[in-house]
């Protein structure tokens, strides 16, 4: 469940090509990360997969069903938490389920607890810090019923301290539930720590410049980040990015 | 024969719409209501205020069965094919006129020169004033005519305005009560042509055609009501105040006393209208370009629904 196939996807805005011939696939239960600079079109890709936008060319299929332009087939966590301010944490968290008919408050409470938000079930978003909000949004995505979860830089607003905790926690949850995850980030550490596979985006227009299969064994622990092996991989990916001339002019 | 529906008490329901807020012009109606004259005639009458709408359109549209109107309005309405008919004059002679505080020293139309008149912007006002002034070789161009809208007489003459057109029975009496002395020039003092009927009771043509008996019954009761007011002004005033407690009791009482003799005045019976008066005023209006065309005054009024004398 949750195998994603993207074929030769292209998308332009106002004549400017943002995505060009993007082909990628994510296998069932795989954790794939797209690493790309800001403005390269990562969120646009998610909007295409989520059916919010229609591609100019190409097709998207999930478990062999064509879902191009169809909504509701993926679970989603946006860049901004987008919590509903009039709902408590608990009610926000079950929103994804609610949209598809089933509510499981017990499980929701459990997950809230696990995310380190125990006691905040009845709090409103305005009472939370930016980081806490992001975590709530993440739990909401995890609780949604779809098999593929698209995470759009979910931890970019968290501090590195908590982010690291969340990484471990995410991996532990993921090992339990084995959902397919497509992750977007611009943080190399994050990508390396979490993924089975990393796709590096070039920009203007975005194409897939490189692909890395990450061999670290699971379960992964925080200490991994501080090993020589990790640093070696980081150098490797960084050099690709420098080679490709990414980074610098990406926004001009 | 009548097509009017009857209510569970077997009474015919009719509505009567006033021309303004209730006042002593309407006493007969309230007496007929209070004394049960309407009921005796098999009628259940509802008396309404018209608000901004104006009674004539309501009566014409059949939203009300009867209304209070005035000869000039009915004349104008008939020119536009608005089907309303006067069925009785409430006051025989025109009791309206131009009033001003005595300090202003306006005693004849000649004195209008250099003064400011406050009206409501109708062409008829200028026509009437100019005809009065012509009679004394005064120049209408030396009069400033200002539209004072809804502003009341007493307020207006405190500011900018020197004289205005009032019904003596109400505003004039209020002045007496206040102890403000007025110079009053009645229209009837100047011209027979201006002695038109105001106010009158009106109905629409469809009532006349379809429910003549209801109209007859209504006028019978109303006649009795005004008769009573003529004979017992104080008691009639009490009835009006009782029906409309928000009116000023003193004003009503005094106004009633003043009006008692003027309802019927010199007419053979209360409510009677003369064709020549209708004809005269229509001609007067036509001559002064206040009417687009002449009307058939026979269709504009009728005495047919007034009770026969001694009936």
């Amino acid at each position: 469940m949750g195998a994603l196939e993207v074929k030769e996807l292209s998308k332009s805005f106002d004549g400017r090509e943002i995505l060009k011939d993007i082909s990628l696939h994510v296998e069932e239960g795989e954790f794939v990360t797209i690493l790309g600079p800001s403005g390269s079109g990562k969120s646009t890709l998610f909007q295409l997969i989520g059916g919010l936008l229609n591609p100019d060319h190409g097709a998207i299929s999930l478990d062999d069903d064509n879902i191009t332009g169809k909504r509701g087939f993926i679970s989603y966590m946006p860049q901004q938490p987008a919590l509903l301010p009039w709902r408590t944490v608990l009610d926000n968290v079950i929103l994804g389920q609610e949209l598809h008919g089933t509510k499981d408050k017990v499980k929701a409470k459990e997950m809230i607890q696990k995310a380190g938000l125990g006691g905040y079930e009845q709090a409103f978003p305005e009472e939370l810090s930016g980081g806490m909000k992001q975590r709530v949004a993440f739990i909401r995505a995890l609780l949604s019923p779809q098999s593929l979860i698209c995470l759009d830089e979910p931890f970019s607003a968290l501090d590195d301290f908590t982010r690291q905790e969340m990484h471990e926690w995410l991996l532990s949850i993921w090992s339990q539930y084995k959902r397919t995850i497509l992750f977007v980030t611009h943080n190399i550490d994050e990508a390396l720590f979490l993924s089975d596979r990393i796709l590096v985006f070039s920009s203007n227009p975005a194409q897939i410049a490189n692909e890395f299969v990450i061999p670290f064994s699971r379960p992964r622990k925080q200490e991994l980040l501080l090993t020589e092996e990790f640093l070696k991989w980081k150098r490797k990916i960084s050099s690709t990015i420098v080679q490709n001339g990414l980074g610098g002019e990406s926004d001009e | 024969e009548d097509s009017k529906s009857k209510n569970e008490d077997g009474l015919t329901e009719v509505t009567m719409v006033l021309d303004w807020t209730p006042n002593t012009n309407h006493t007969g109606l309230y007496v007929a209501q209070e004394k049960g004259y309407f009921k005796d005639e098999g009628l259940e009458v509802e008396i309404m205020m018209p608000g901004e709408t104006g009674a004539d359109q309501l009566v014409a549209a059949g939203r009300a069965d009867f209304g209070i109107s005035a000869q000039e309005a009915i004349t104008e309405a008939r020119v536009q094919d608005v089907p309303i008919v006067s069925i009785g004059a409430i006051i025989q002679h025109n009791t309206s006129g131009f009033a001003s505080p005595v300090e202003k020293n306006i005693t004849s139309p000649k004195d209008f020169e250099g003064k400011t008149y406050g009206g409501w912007g109708a062409p008829v006002e200028e026509a009437v004033i100019s005809s009065l002034m012509e009679g004394e070789n005064a120049d209408i161009n030396k009069l400033d005519i200002v539209n004072m809208g809804n502003t009341d007489f007493f307020t207006a003459v405190k500011r900018d305005i020197d004289f205005a057109w009032i019904y003596y029975a109400w505003t004039g009496i209020e002045a007496e009560i206040r102890g403000d002395d007025l110079n009053m020039m009645y229209l009837t003092d100047f011209s027979d042509q201006l002695d038109y009927y105001t106010p009158v009771i009106s109905t629409n043509e469809s009532m006349i055609n379809k429910n003549p008996d209801t109209v007859k019954a209504f006028m019978a009761a109303v006649t009795k009501g005004y008769q009573f007011a003529i004979e017992n002004p104080d008691e009639a005033a009490d009835i009006l105040v009782k029906a409309v407690p928000d009116l000023d009791a003193e004003l009503v009482k005094k106004s009633q006393q003043w009006l008692a003799t003027r309802y019927q005045d010199d007419a053979p019976r209360w409510g009677e209208q003369k064709e020549e008066i209708w004809e005269n005023y229509m001609n007067w209006m036509f001559d002064r370009d206040l009417l687009e065309e002449k009307i058939d005054v026979k269709k504009a009024f009728t005495n047919e629904f007034l009770p026969k004398q001694g009936e």
Binding site: R71, Q80, L99, H100 | N23, M49, T53, R63, D152
Partner: protein, 256 residues
């Protein structure tokens, strides 16, 4: 409840003080300049008249309140319905919205007599007037509220597979509540004025009638009693809506 009274006191004492000051100035001016009552009555005269005459007044009051409430409820329902329809049918909105705004330029007072001619003297034309007066602020407020939904939230809902109805009921509707309540507050005060105006079109009782009667029998003091009552009534309506708002709107930071 105690907290509410506390808030009322904290927010209310300043305006109350200013009001008192204004009334005092008015009172003193009238007394010193010896302005006749029929021209401009002193506040004391007005209060006294209102007090001593309150018995005669209650049936007018009841009638106006009934009218205003009915009109308010109908007007708001219609307004909301129109807003929801226009929101859910963008094609219709584009066609109708400008006309709605245009319609607000028809002076109600001009329309009113025509309404009476067309619909008679009953309650109907009056309710229509109040409805016309109430529904517009509601429609505008609700439409604004619906449209003002933060794009990132709308985004999320759509990506998560919300259909149009869910998008509306779970996001746009609750998001519009604060705007809606501002609309309701405006409509509530309008409804009282609308009721008074509608009574000028012919009614047997009501504050509008009382006002007209007072005015035509030169009782300026009573006209002011009516004005005061209208203001108090509007304030009450406003207060009730605010109370509902406090109870209903959660989890949103209030302005300072």
């Amino acid at each position: 409840m105690v907290k509410l009274l506390g808030t009322l006191w904290r927010k209310g004492w300043r305006p109350a003080l200013v009001l008192l000051l204004l009334l005092t100035i008015w009172q003193v001016t009238v007394k010193v300049a010896d302005v006749p009552t029929w021209l401009l009555p002193a506040p004391s005269v007005i209060v006294l008249e209102g007090w001593s005459n309150f018995g005669n007044f209650t049936h007018h009051l009841q009638s106006t309140i009934g009218l205003a409430l009915t009109g308010f409820v109908i007007g708001c329902s219609v307004g909301l319905l129109v807003a929801i329809l226009l929101h859910l049918l963008p094609g219709v909105r584009e066609a109708v919205y400008p006309l709605l705004i245009l319609s607000q330029n028809v002076p109600i007072i001009v329309l009113a007599p025509l309404l009476v001619i067309w619909f008679g003297f009953g309650v109907l034309p009056k309710i229509i007037i109040i409805t016309l007066v109430c529904f517009f602020p509601i429609t505008i407020a609700a439409l604004g509220g619906f449209k003002n939904t933060p794009p990132e939230m709308k985004h999320y809902m759509l990506m998560a597979g919300a259909n149009k109805l869910q998008l509306f009921s779970k996001l746009e509707w609750p998001n519009s509540l604060p705007a809606l309540f501002s609309g309701l507050k405006i409509a509530a005060t309008y409804s009282v004025m609308g009721a008074v105006i509608s009574e000028w079109l012919g009614a047997k009782q009501g504050i509008g009638v009382y006002m007209t009667l007072a005015s035509s029998s030169f009782r300026t003091d009573r006209v002011f009693v009516a004005i005061f009552i209208v203001m108090i009534l509007s304030l009450l309506f406003f207060g009730v809506i605010t109370l509902f708002e406090k109870l209903l709107i959660k989890g949103r930071r209030k302005g300072d």
